[in-house]
């Protein structure tokens, strides 16, 4: 198991290195640079000389590979630079917004679990019934709905027509727990919808496959009641493919958080990223992308470890 963990970690670090190159290059490939972007807003800067001075000040006149290594070493040291827009330290911006986005992620996962698992399990146990058909159809709809559309419809239905939830904004938990929950209820649901549908589909097919296995028949032949058989024999093997899906969707949720935070005006990392892209704020864009990559990587690492825990065939040779 130790060797398994070590090899997974090594892989992750290697991947992160290549991703960092990609991220750096991508940011440079965007047309225009931060100074130009700033000059469009503040016309005082729209002078080639001033602009060149500014470029020199931020090191933007250096060759790309020098810029890259400078950024990489600084980033590793925790010096993420200052935002070119606000001048604030990027690390501080990140730390301030992290809890907000984390709350959205946890909330979205919560919704997807309490919807996805029961839907999938019931559909599998009542296979080919009308209940199965309607649950499966609902799941497909959940997977297919675009996040931005669902967000708008939800705001219209549950904030405008039925004013239960605030249409946008975010109240920190420390300020008012109740209002905090109200403010994240809709965004997290919207963010978790796709994963919920995906989970339901995977739980159903995975459970059905396991229930058709020989060892389930063995378990029944021992005299296990249906419920005990499901919990003791079917649950763990059925979870294996589902864990992978959860990990993947945790990675994909980043995209959801970009949209949702923008739509619901939530001051999280996604919104920070979107704003940074519009402002060509290189340090913030790069930091955001590294965080996105890190998140995907950590999700995958967790999946690998959970897999090892669940399946002895991975752990013991």
């Amino acid at each position: 198991m130790k060797r398994y963990i070590a090899s997974r970690l090594l892989y992750s670090i290697l991947i992160l290195f290549f991703v960092s190159i990609l991220i750096f290059t991508l940011a440079r490939l965007m047309p225009g640079d931060p100074i130009q972007a700033a000059a469009m807003i503040n016309t005082d800067l729209a002078n080639p000389e001033i602009m060149n001075d500014l470029r020199a000040k931020f090191g933007l006149d250096k060759p790309y590979h020098e810029q890259y290594f400078l950024w990489l070493t600084d980033f590793a040291k925790g010096e993420w630079g200052d935002s070119l827009g606000s001048g604030e330290e990027v690390l501080a911006m990140f730390l301030r917004r992290l809890p907000v986005t984390l709350e959205l992620f946890i909330g979205a996962t919560f919704w997807s679990f309490i919807i996805g698992f029961p839907f999938g399990i019931i559909a599998a146990l009542r296979r080919n019934s009308w209940l199965d058909a309607s649950l499966t159809t609902t799941s497909i709809i959940g997977v297919s709905i675009p996040v931005f559309w669902e967000g708008i419809v939800f705001i219209y239905l549950f904030a405008v027509i039925l004013p239960i939830f605030p249409p946008s904004g975010y109240v920190p938990f420390s300020e008012s727990p109740w209002e905090n929950l109200l403010s994240v209820a809709m965004p997290t649901f919207v963010m978790g919808t796709q994963t919920a549908g995906l989970l339901a589909r995977y739980v159903r097919s995975s459970l059905l496959e396991v229930l058709g296995q020989d060892f389930i028949r063995t378990a029944r032949a021992k005299g296990l009641r249906e419920k005990a058989m499901l919990i003791r024999h079917a649950a763990r093997p059925a979870l294996l493919p589902v864990v992978t899906v959860i990990g993947l969707s945790w990675g994909y949720m980043v995209a959801g958080s970009f949209l949702v935070e923008y739509m619901f005006a939530i001051p999280g990392l996604g919104r920070m990223g979107v704003n940074a892209v519009f402002a060509r704020d290189f340090p913030v864009i790069q930091a955001t992308l590294v965080i996105v990559a890190l998140n995907v990587m950590l999700a995958n690492l967790t999946v690998d470890l959970v897999y090892g825990y669940l399946d002895p065939r991975v752990r013991i040779h």
């Binding site: 020989d214 028949r217 063995t218 029944r220 021992k222 005299g223 249906e226 024999h233 669940l310 065939r313």
Partner: protein
């Protein structure tokens, strides 16, 4: 000897998209305490479905036991509640499956799976159960039993897994063990070992045994009585001795002729049964075997023969007496 099991007019059908499959069609037989019954026939003849029907383990849908009675220890298993049949399964009547590689849960230790039947059916402490399981593992010749209890199925060889399966079937000291092709996945030397082992253990505990197989050699050696099945029906019923000396049904005769025997001239060619196994959805009219039968008469095409007694321990379902 008292009667342990009586199957009366059992029919199990599968309702598939392509049509109705009468996997088991109106069969009757009985079994005494401590007796060993062989159930023989080619793949798809209904022998496994018959065994699964006894414990009501037929996957439904598409399968369903449509009629009949399974009287076991004086109660009809087919009318029991789900709870009551669970009390019989693995306790009074146990099953040993083929394919030990897939019949054990890959993510559970052998020990936990072995202890499960007793945890369900016996009011014993964990320590007592563990002790009995260790003892059983030793009885089925698994070395280093205490460490093996913590091993997972993928760490066992096929032969060891099948031994563990046998031990699992015997944990609650059942009155009847059904072994569904218990040795098909194993090589020949291991097969012999395991069958000896199973025979010894069942004899010692006075357990009745149903061996399902397509291997006539196994039946000859281990069974007291034999039911030969073809296309969901029993076509010949006899003591093992009598069956081997005087097979009376054309299908049995064909089966015997297609198996090599050490006491025969090695140069003699084996005689296969002509034709293909029947299509279970579109069974031939009359006797299902008639298209492949060399003794066929006019009547076989139209009328299905029922079992009839030919002597005190021999019954066949055939219109022709092949000995004349």
């Amino acid at each position: 000897m008292s009667k342990l099991l009586e199957v009366k007019n059992l029919s199990t059908h599968f309702f598939t998209d392509d049509g109705l499959v009468k996997a088991v069609d109106n069969i009757s037989y009985s079994l005494n305490e401590g007796e060993t019954l062989g159930l023989v026939g080619e793949s798809g003849c209904g022998k496994s479905v018959n065994a699964l029907s006894l414990l009501r383990l037929i996957p439904n849908p598409p399968g369903k036991i449509v009629s009949g009675k399974v009287i076991f220890e004086d109660q009809n298993l087919l009318t029991l509640s789900e709870d009551d049949i669970c009390r019989i399964r693995g306790n009074r009547m146990a099953m040993i499956f083929q394919e030990p590689m897939t019949s054990l849960n890959p993510v559970m230790t052998i020990g936990r799976q072995l202890m499960e039947p007793m945890e369900i059916h016996r009011q014993m402490t964990r320590g007592e159960i563990q002790e009995r399981c260790l003892d059983l593992l030793k009885r089925v010749h698994i070395p280093e039993a205490p460490t093996r209890m913590n091993a997972y199925p993928h760490q066992f060889s096929g032969g060891m897994l099948q031994r563990a399966m046998i031990a699992m079937g015997l944990t609650c000291n059942p009155r009847l063990v059904i072994a569904d092709e218990p040795t098909t996945a194993l090589d020949v030397t291991i097969q012999a070992q395991l069958l000896e082992l199973m025979k010894d253990l069942t004899r010692e505990f006075g357990t009745a045994l149903i061996i399902i197989t397509h291997n006539l050699g196994i039946v000859a050696r281990y069974a007291d009585r034999v039911n030969v099945m073809y296309a969901g029906r029993i076509v010949e019923k006899s003591t093992a001795m009598d069956l081997y000396k005087n097979p009376r049904h054309p299908y049995t005769i064909g089966l015997m002729a297609s198996v090599p025997r050490l006491d025969q001239d090695m140069k003699k060619k084996l005689k296969p049964i002509e034709g293909q196994p029947p299509d279970l959805i579109h069974l031939p009219s009359g006797c299902s075997f008639h298209p492949r039968c060399s003794y066929r008469v006019e009547r076989c095409l139209n009328e299905t023969p029922e079992l009839k007694t030919v002597n005190e321990n021999h019954e066949i379902a055939c219109w022709v007496d092949v000995r004349t």
